[in-house]
Symmetry: C2
Subunit: 200 residues, 2 copies
C-alpha cells in the first residue's frame, strides 16, 4: 500500500473514531463538524474530503458498528451451551459494545426528527427490524429448547428491545461495572419473568 493511501486511511479512521466518540457522548445534532475538527486536529474541508456529509459520516459509523457487532457475536455464540447462558452473553456484549454505540443515543434524533434523508430512514428501519428479529430468534430458540415457556415471542422481543434501549440510556452515566451489574440483574429479571409467566 502507498504511503499516501496509508495516511489517508489513517486520517479517515481518526476522524471516524473521534466522530463516534462525540456522537455517543453528545448526540448527533449536538456535535458539530467543528467539534470533530477540534478533536482530530484536521480541517473542516478534510472531513468533507473523506466523507460525503455529516449524515454520511454517521451512516458510515452505523454500518461499521453493525458489522463489528455481528462478527463479535458470531465469534462467541457457539460457545454457549444453553439459551439462558446465551442471554447473559447477549447482555454482556450489549454493555461492552452498545454503550459505545453511535446509534443508541443519536438514532432517536433521526427517528423522530423531520429532516432525515430517505437513505437514513430506510437504514434505520432496517436496523430496528433486524434487532427485533434477533431478539425474536433468541427467545424462540429458548422456547424450542424447552428453557422458556412458549408464547408471545413477538411481544417479548419488543419488551426485550425496550429493556435494552432503556438500559443503555440509564447506564450512560454510571461506571462500566455498575452497568454490567444492572444489565445482569435486568436479564435475570427478564428470564425469571419469562419462566414464571403463565402460558398464553
Amino acid at each position: 500500500m502507498n504511503k499516501k493511501q496509508l495516511q489517508s486511511e489513517q486520517t479517515r479512521k481518526r476522524i471516524a473514531d473521534a466522530a463516534r466518540h462525540l456522537f455517543v457522548q453528545k448526540g448527533y445534532k449536538a456535535t458539530s463538524i467543528e467539534d470533530i475538527t477540534d478533536a482530530t486536529g484536521s480541517s473542516k474541508g478534510n472531513i468533507y474530503y473523506h466523507f460525503k456529509s455529516k449524515e454520511g459520516l454517521f451512516l458510515y459509523l452505523l454500518d461499521e458498528w453493525d458489522r463489528d457487532w455481528i462478527a463479535k457475536w458470531q465469534e462467541k455464540e457457539h460457545l454457549y451451551t444453553s439459551i439462558t447462558e446465551k442471554m447473559y452473553g447477549f447482555a454482556e456484549q450489549m454493555v461492552r459494545e452498545d454503550l459505545n454505540h453511535p446509534l443508541t443515543k443519536a438514532a432517536d434524533e433521526f427517528f423522530v426528527g423531520g429532516d432525515k434523508t430517505c437513505e437514513v430512514e430506510d437504514r434505520l428501519a432496517e436496523m430496528v427490524e433486524s434487532h427485533l428479529a434477533f431478539n425474536r430468534g433468541l427467545i424462540q430458540q429458548g422456547i424450542d429448547s424447552g428453557e422458556f415457556k412458549p408464547g408471545a415471542a413477538e411481544g417479548l422481543a419488543v419488551v426485550l428491545e425496550a429493556l435494552v434501549i432503556g438500559l443503555s440510556q440509564v447506564s450512560r452515566r454510571i461506571s462500566l461495572e455498575q452497568a454490567l451489574d444492572t444489565y445482569r440483574l435486568a436479564i435475570e429479571v427478564f428470564l425469571y419473568g419469562i419462566a414464571g409467566r403463565p402460558e398464553t
Copy 2:
C-alpha cells in the same frame, strides 16, 4: 376575570399545548420556535411575551407535567388493593400520560448536550432521582407486603426505570392499544421476574 386576562391565558395554554406536542414528537432541539408559531397561528414575539425563552417554555412544561402526574397518581393510588395491582396501574398511567411526556424524549438531549443551563440541569437531576425514589418505594411496598421477594430494591428500581424509558421510546411509533399491551406484558414479565428471582 378580565376578557384580556382570559384571552391571555388561553393563548398561553394554546402555545404550551402545541409546544408540548411538538417537543414530544420531534425532541427539543428539532422543534423550532417557528414550528410552534406555525402550529398556533400566533407570532414569534408573542411566544416571547408569554414565556421567557424556549428553555423557559420547556421548563414550564416539565413542571406542569410533574404536577399533573402526581395528582393523577394520588387520585388512583388508594384504590388498588395490592401492590401488584398498583404496578399495573402504574404501567397504565405511564402509557396514558408518559407517551405525551415532554421529558421522555427531550430530556435526554439536555442530559448529555453540553449547552444546558444550571437551572435545567438541576431540575432534570431532581426528576430522575424522584423517579428512582418512586420506583424504589413501589418495590419496597411490595416487599413489605410480602408480595415481592426481598432484596436489591435499589437495583430493581433502576431496571424498572430502564424498562419504562425503553418502553416509552419503543411505543412512540405504535398505536395506543398496542402500547398498552406491550406495557402490560412488560410489567407482567417484570413482576414474575421479581417473584421468581432467587433471594439475595
